[in-house]
């Protein structure tokens, strides 16, 4: 099971839940899972087949890709944090 932290930006879509547990092997699966739990949350955080550009996808503290194909190891901790740029 994944431990998914719901960002405050999506609190209005998540009925006040701050964390949920669900199973997913990819970012696409994860977003589908979240949409199943909280209808409407998916479109808020997707742009085509990717995560929206204003969020970064973080697996176990590591920035990961935005593609729906991004794999997620089992039992990972998931965060969505503000998008990061570097110099």
């Amino acid at each position: 099971m994944l431990r998914v932290f719901i960002p405050d930006a999506l609190a209005d879509h998540a009925a006040g839940e701050q964390q949920v547990e669900l199973s997913a092997n990819t970012l696409g699966d994860l977003i589908s899972g979240l949409e199943g739990m909280f209808p409407g949350i998916g479109p808020r955080i997707t742009d085509g087949d990717r995560l929206v550009s204003w969020l970064s996808f973080v697996i176990n503290g590591e920035l990961a890709g935005r593609s729906f194909l991004t794999p997620i190891p089992p039992n990972s901790e998931i965060h969505f944090i503000p998008a990061i740029a570097g110099g």
Partner: protein, 758 residues
């Protein structure tokens, strides 16, 4: 130059040594090829017409007269580039909205800042091109401009982008058009409860000015659009593949039709990732049928490329009497510039990242206004945030009567600490930097004399991994040619080569690193985010492992044994009764199947964040407000240091830029939104006479997730200086400064205000 922990505690032979950089001779003898050195037969010279207004509608552009000027080969405007819809393109580190990128390259309906590109000319020489620019007639309808972030957030502010929608967290009270491009909110724990538990609460407001990266080499690009439809670009860029992708997207070309050659680069610091003139040079080349070089002048660089955001930040921190922080609240508004930029994201992540706050809330805004679109600049967003947070930390320590480093140690983030944005830290080295700083002779040295003070400050940067590729060819003489795609800004040819050499058991000098074009190596993300020594170095390590595997198989052929029976240690292949050095075996590989090439493409995970703790002594001239840096010590967790000289250079360079932020650098705008100091004479950057020798102290807390323990080094040293210098000023004259830069006029005014209040 002092360094700490520069001891060969490991068995490394190459890592931790200081070989001469591979590109050193070329650079000191002038043979290195920079962007402006590129010369092609029939080369034309391009110049760009830029808006004199900070905000205006473009009624019309008439290029007829310019086109008729003898010596002019092509004139372009936005009419020559197809518009793009609002669509995001990934750039490796970050992404870009193609509509905004397109309109930033050549303004379409509106100009949004003074210096916004409007049209361009290619001519037989630069003088003719500049004369032609004067003949282009642009009819503007000037509009009110806004250049202060809080003004741009007001309901009655001039709106820059009519259809801009706020991304991110909802803004309940927002209605109608807005300049707020992004709204960020995240929290941890219960902030109300946290502040209720606090014995001491301090809340302060901070302003910081727009600051430029100040790279010495202006942007320059040469393009050749061949009749077969292939576009070649030579550019000063931090990322050849990123440059290729942006240009290809803007010009609707497949990436395979675009080749980008990264030239040597005279600094970037985040400012040479986004394209500005590359698509313009390409379009001029297409229209003229000739190669075209476009070179910015210094005013172009200041007014038209991405500086760092100016900002307004409010920070509130609460602590118990025993010195434990219990709550933190930050409200942060950053300039986006003319188009959404997103530097607010890392700013929000970094503001409380040094501390273990049980309860925290961070709210941030990315706000468009009439300045050039902001860009990354060395730990983007973090320096503004560190100035605010660290200054309040200093005030809390003073109010509680606790030594400022001791106060930070009580609250320092460590392995397992969860940042307010959520992720928990792996192994990090903030505590080690604080302890090293506290034990450093500088911290306990006597500081005598009037108007002198000492300050400390901390900083954080998360660093990046991303994608890198290398190939490595074994030569018959035992050397290895290392082919890579990372622009070498700070000596990365050598730091990457050293990791290859260490793995192969050869010397750094036996590696021949070559930075090549986008057709000659696998995809490689930008040199930025302090990722190159980490990620491209990792790729070099993996390519070396690939070479060892292949050479072991060759040795097994010689020795008529199984490859499994061949061992490799420190450059020596051996089996039961045989042994060959790497060089000896390299000399035989042509007899056993030919050239051996190692290759690796990595998407590097296991990034190690970096922290720094700085100590600074200053002297304030109460007559002029000038602040003189007397002594500076920068302690930093560098992870495993690959090449100490380059790590030290990164620390010193970052500190000098941080001193610039702290004391002098700022974009000065007039009431119409025009920058009034767009020259190196008037935009005051520190020079050699302004700073003493900066002592870097490298603490090595190796990153356990990298083959050689590498963390990024280059970004974090810019973060602590403004706060540390602000604390030193306070300890010198008793006045806290809350606005950057703390320039002589501002310090002088603060002294006058303080005297008046008494």
């Amino acid at each position: 130059m002092a360094t700490a922990n520069e001891t060969k505690t490991s068995s490394y032979r190459v890592i931790g040594t200081r070989p001469i950089r591979h590109d050193g001779v070329d650079k000191v003898t002038g043979r290195a090829v920079y962007g402006n050195d590129v010369q092609l037969p029939g080369l034309l010279y391009g110049r760009v017409l830029r808006s004199p207004h900070a905000h205006a509608r473009i009624r019309s552009i008439d290029t007829t007269k310019a086109e008729k000027l003898p010596g002019v080969f092509a004139v372009i405007s936005s009419a020559d580039i197809d518009p793009h819809e609002s669509k995001m393109a990934e750039l490796g580190e970050g992404s870009v909205n193609l509509q905004y990128l397109c309109e930033n390259v050549l303004a379409r309906k509106k100009v949004l800042y003074k210096g916004h590109a409007v049209a361009a000319v290619a001519a037989v020489n630069a003088h003719v091109a500049e004369e032609a620019l004067k003949l282009i007639e642009v009819d503007y309808d000037p509009l009110h401009a806004v250049t202060w972030v809080l003004d741009a957030m007001k309901d009655d502010a001039p709106i820059l982008i009519d259809d801009l929608k706020t991304e991110g967290a909802p803004l309940p009270h927002s209605k109608g058009p807005t300049n707020i491009a992004q709204h960020i909110v995240f929290s941890k724990g219960d902030i109300e409860k946290g502040f209720a538990e606090a014995d001491v609460i301090i809340e302060r407001e901070f302003k910081s000015a727009t600051v430029h990266q100040g790279y010495i080499e202006p942007h320059v690009a040469t393009a050749l659009w061949s009749p077969d439809g292939h576009l070649s670009i030579w550019a000063s860029t931090q990322g050849s593949f990123t440059c290729r992708q942006q240009t290809a997207e803007l010009l609707a070309l497949p990436v395979s039709k675009v080749t980008v050659t990264p030239c040597e680069i005279g600094g970037g610091f985040g400012g040479k990732i986004r394209v500005y003139i590359e698509p313009i040079a390409a379009l001029l080349s297409k229209k003229s049928g000739r190669p075209v070089k476009v070179l910015m002048n210094r005013a172009d660089v200041f007014e038209s490329t991405g500086p760092t955001p100016g900002s307004f930040i409010r920070v509130k921190l609460g602590a118990k009497r025993d010195g434990r922080l219990v709550a933190g609240d930050a409200w942060m508004a950053y300039d986006a510039g003319a188009y959404p930029a997103g530097i607010i994201g890392p700013g929000c992540v970094c503001v409380f990242s040094c501390y273990d706050l049980p309860n925290a809330r961070v709210e941030g805004f990315d706000v468009v206004l009439n300045k050039p679109q902001t860009a990354a600049y060395r730990a983007p967003g973090s320096t503004n945030a560190a100035f605010a947070c660290e200054t309040v930390i200093e005030e809390l320590a003073e109010k509680l009567g606790i030594d400022p480093i001791e106060f930070r140690l009580k609250n320092a983030a460590k392995e397992g600490t969860r940042r307010p944005d959520g992720p928990a830290y792996p192994v990090i080295g903030l505590v080690e930097t604080l302890k090293t700083a506290k034990a450093h002779p500088h911290y306990s040295a006597t500081l005598e004399g009037p108007n002198r003070g000492r300050g400390v400050g901390c900083g954080f940067w998360m660093n990046a991994g991303l994608k890198s590729s290398v190939t490595a060819h074994v030569n018959g003489d035992g050397t290895v040619t290392l082919v890579e795609g990372s622009t070498d800004i700070g000596g990365t040819r050598t730091s990457i080569a050293m990791q290859l050499a260490e793995t192969l058991g050869i010397t750094a000098e036996e590696v021949v690193p070559r930075v090549v074009d986008t057709d000659s190596v696998g995809y490689t993300d930008v040199t930025g985010g302090s990722r190159t020594t980490f990620a491209t170095g990792w790729a070099a390590h993996d390519a070396a492992i690939d070479i060892v595997k292949q050479m072991s198989a060759r040795a097994a052929e010689f020795w008529k044994c199984s490859p499994d029976e061949v061992t490799f240690d420190r450059g020596l292949f051996s089996s039961k009764s045989h042994a060959l050095t790497f060089k000896e075996l390299a000399g035989k590989i042509q007899e056993t199947g030919g050239t051996i090439t190692g290759r690796a493409s990595v998407e590097a995970k296991g990034v190690g964040a970096t922290f720094g703790t700085h100590i600074v002594d200053v002297e304030v001239d109460p007559e002029t407000g000038k602040v003189k840096i007397l002594r500076y010590t920068a302690v930093q967790d560098c992870g495993r240091v690959i090449h100490p000289s380059y790590a030290e250079g990164q620390i010193q360079g970052g500190v000098v830029q941080g001193i610039g932020w702290a004391l002098n650098e700022e974009y000065v705008y007039d009431a119409d939104g025009r920058m009034r100091n767009a020259s190196m004479l008037d935009y005051r950057m520190p020079t050699a006479v302004d700073v003493p020798t900066i002592e870097p102290v490298m603490v090595e807390v190796p990153n356990p997730r990298h083959p050689y323990g590498v963390r990024g080094v280059g970004e974090v040293p810019i973060c602590p200086p403004p706060a540390a210098i602000g604390a030193a000023i306070y300890n010198a004259i008793g006045i806290r400064m809350y606005e950057l830069p703390m320039s002589p006029p501002k310090v002088c005014q603060a002294i006058i205000n303080e005297a008046s209040a008494k």
